[in-house]
């Protein structure tokens, strides 16, 4: 398909229909939802909707032109870009921390936080790592490699497709360690499966976990639209980072059936670990980390160019 995702289709003249593909409907994408629900996009003349697309389809839907852009890790874009004449380019940051934590069965105690301690702790354990090939799974494998363990030999990895399954696996004693994020962490604590996480990947610092990306051809043909989108996105980020009560209201609206306690726990941890990007900027270091993860785990080894994968001109312009 062609880059038609942003063409004028709306009933109101000038209001562009924009579809953003998300791999899952996630609390971490709150700044995007905020920009939608608070009408920041509307004010820019954009009509933004999200669509959930699993199994890598959030990337393909952009390639095929069904979606205008996507939210997700830059590494999956890079994998699709390899050999593609019209690459997908990231334009603004949303989640700037690796939003994954490792929790262990209450009975297990970690001695220290060094790599050796971690290696000793995890060796021989069985780990509920989440969807095979997903970011949490890859991060877990990456960590195992980093501390000197072989993911295929030194531990037993269980890779259920459904995030909620990891809680039950540990709660039932079938696995010793689980990875996950909120709300799994607090649910597990509530159920007595584990205590606070023994390791948090946010400790890696800036990490381009979820960014918004569009095709290069879109940037070329509709620079104003991209600019407007980035402007509104930055407003969303600002709101979420500064106005906790309003952010919570939006969260409640987006996830009406979730319990307040679980939403609250998610928010608290997000603020504590500085989950969301402050300025929407994607640094070289933030991109380098996920690319290192896919490289070390052998998923993608062909290399990348920051300048082709990220275009910060719109963020820079907006922040001026």
């Amino acid at each position: 398909g062609s880059a038609s995702g942003g063409s004028v289709q709306g009933k109101e003249a000038g209001s562009k229909n924009i579809v953003i593909a998300e791999p899952v409907h996630l609390i971490a994408y709150l700044p995007l939802y905020a920009a939608i629900d608070e009408g920041y996009f509307k004010k820019e003349g954009l009509d933004v909707k999200t669509i959930t697309a699993t199994g890598g389809a959030h990337v393909t839907s952009v390639v095929s032109g069904d979606a205008w852009g996507n939210i997700g890790g830059p590494e999956s874009n890079q994998m699709a870009n390899n050999g593609n004449k019209d690459p997908i380019v990231s334009i603004v940051n949303v989640v700037d921390r690796a939003n994954v934590y490792l929790m262990a069965n209450k009975k297990l105690k970690l001695k220290g936080t060094s790599d050796q301690d971690l290696a000793a702790f995890m060796k021989g354990k069985s780990i509920a790592a989440g969807r095979y090939g997903g970011s949490p799974d890859l991060l877990t494998r990456w960590l195992l490699l980093k501390v000197g363990l072989n993911p295929n030999k030194d531990v037993k990895l269980d890779e259920p497709a459904d995030a909620s399954a990891v809680v039950s696996l540990v709660a039932q004693g079938k696995d010793d360690i689980a990875n996950g994020a909120e709300p799994q962490i607090s649910e597990g604590i509530k159920k007595g499966a584990w205590n606070e996480p023994f390791y948090g990947f946010p400790s890696l610092g800036d990490y381009a976990y979820s960014v918004i990306s569009v095709k290069q051809s879109t940037i070329n043909s509709q620079p104003q639209t991209v600019q407007k989108f980035v402007n509104a996105m930055l407003k969303g980020l600002k709101l979420v980072n500064s106005n906790k009560t309003e952010a919570f209201k939006i969260l409640k609206k987006e996830f009406p059936t979730s319990s307040n306690a679980s939403l609250k726990a998610s928010m608290d941890r997000a603020y504590k670990d500085q989950l969301w990007s402050k300025d929407g900027f994607i640094t070289k270091a933030a991109v380098a980390k996920p690319m290192d993860v896919v490289k070390k785990t052998g998923v993608y080894t062909k290399g990348y160019q920051y300048s082709k994968l990220v275009d910060m001109t719109f963020v820079n312009k907006a922040n001026k």
Partner: protein, 291 residues
């Protein structure tokens, strides 16, 4: 009576012989069923179904309350109803249901029609049918969810792609059912029609198609379930609406109550669609009192 019959020793018998016989009140018939049973039977079935349903719900609530089942994973009926209510009022459950059932029904209808045409067309050439059959089976077994990235390119991410998924799930089953019907056609009936000077298209229209109807109908119930599964897989791959998407999202945010709401809602949708197919079955076979 004629005069010739006079000399034959004829002894009149019949109702005038007075014997005390009571009206048979109830006889245990070995085989042939009485028609009167019909209505009371239907009532019994409905009552039986309700008893089973109520028992399941009661046990579920009870076992989760006393803790035999972990209510975190199993949820329980009252919480599910409550969550469902919230989802319907504040969320988009009703639109999701309309979306899912719309895609399912359209895909089901298309799949059944096209599949039946394909299956019936196999009557025309056994070479063609036997060449095609394994490819159909292979195609049907391809895991749609796994092809997610490619499917998005082929079918897009809109409503149409859900319809196509439902279509793909049903079309082969419908084709195979119609093909089974074609294979079961009584050769003697075909022979009889040819003896009346029929061309192949006459035999096709007047014998093959009507003979195959019961076979095609027999696949409807399976197909409505498959169509629903297809739609849900379609919604898993990519969707803005639909019950499948809701379930995926609920599982992701650990809202197991909402997962159950989705599962229950889908079960109800499936029961209603099932009843719909039963009604279609009756309608299609209504001119077949002989059965």
């Amino acid at each position: 009576m004629d005069a010739n019959a006079e000399k034959i020793p004829v002894e009149r018998t019949g109702i005038d012989q007075s014997l005390e016989v009571k009206k048979n009140t109830r006889v245990k018939a070995a085989v042939i069923e009485d028609d009167r049973k019909g209505i009371s039977m239907r009532r019994k079935v409905v009552i039986g179904q309700m008893i089973v349903g109520v028992t399941i719900i009661f046990l579920w609530e009870f076992l989760t309350r006393i803790g035999w089942l972990d209510s975190y994973y199993w949820s329980n009926p009252s919480t599910i109803v409550q969550t469902g209510w919230t989802a319907a009022i504040q969320g988009t459950l009703l639109q999701d249901m309309a979306y899912t059932s719309g895609a399912t029904i359209i895909g089901f209808i298309l799949g059944t029609l096209v599949g039946s045409v394909i299956g019936l067309s196999f009557w025309w050439s056994s070479l063609y049918s036997r060449i095609t059959e394994p490819y159909m089976i292979a195609f049907n077994a391809v895991p749609k969810l796994a092809l997610a990235p490619v499917l998005v390119i082929m079918f897009g991410i809109g409503f149409n792609s859900k319809v196509i998924m439902a279509f793909l799930m049903t079309v082969i089953v419908a084709a195979l059912a119609a093909y089974s019907g074609v294979k079961s056609v009584d050769k003697d009936l075909e022979k009889m029609l040819f003896s009346l000077g029929a061309k192949r298209h006459h035999v096709f229209m007047k014998v093959v198609v009507p003979s195959s109807v019961p076979w095609m109908v027999s696949s409807l119930k399976i197909n409505i379930a498959l169509a629903l599964a297809g739609t849900i897989v379609g919604e898993f791959i990519s969707s803005r609406q639909g019950v499948g998407r809701m379930i995926l999202y609920a599982g992701q945010v650990m809202d197991l109550n909402l997962v159950w709401v989705g599962v229950i809602v889908l079960s109800f949708l499936s029961i209603f669609m099932y009843l719909g197919t039963v009604w279609i079955e009756k309608w299609l076979l209504k001119n077949r009192k002989y059965q």
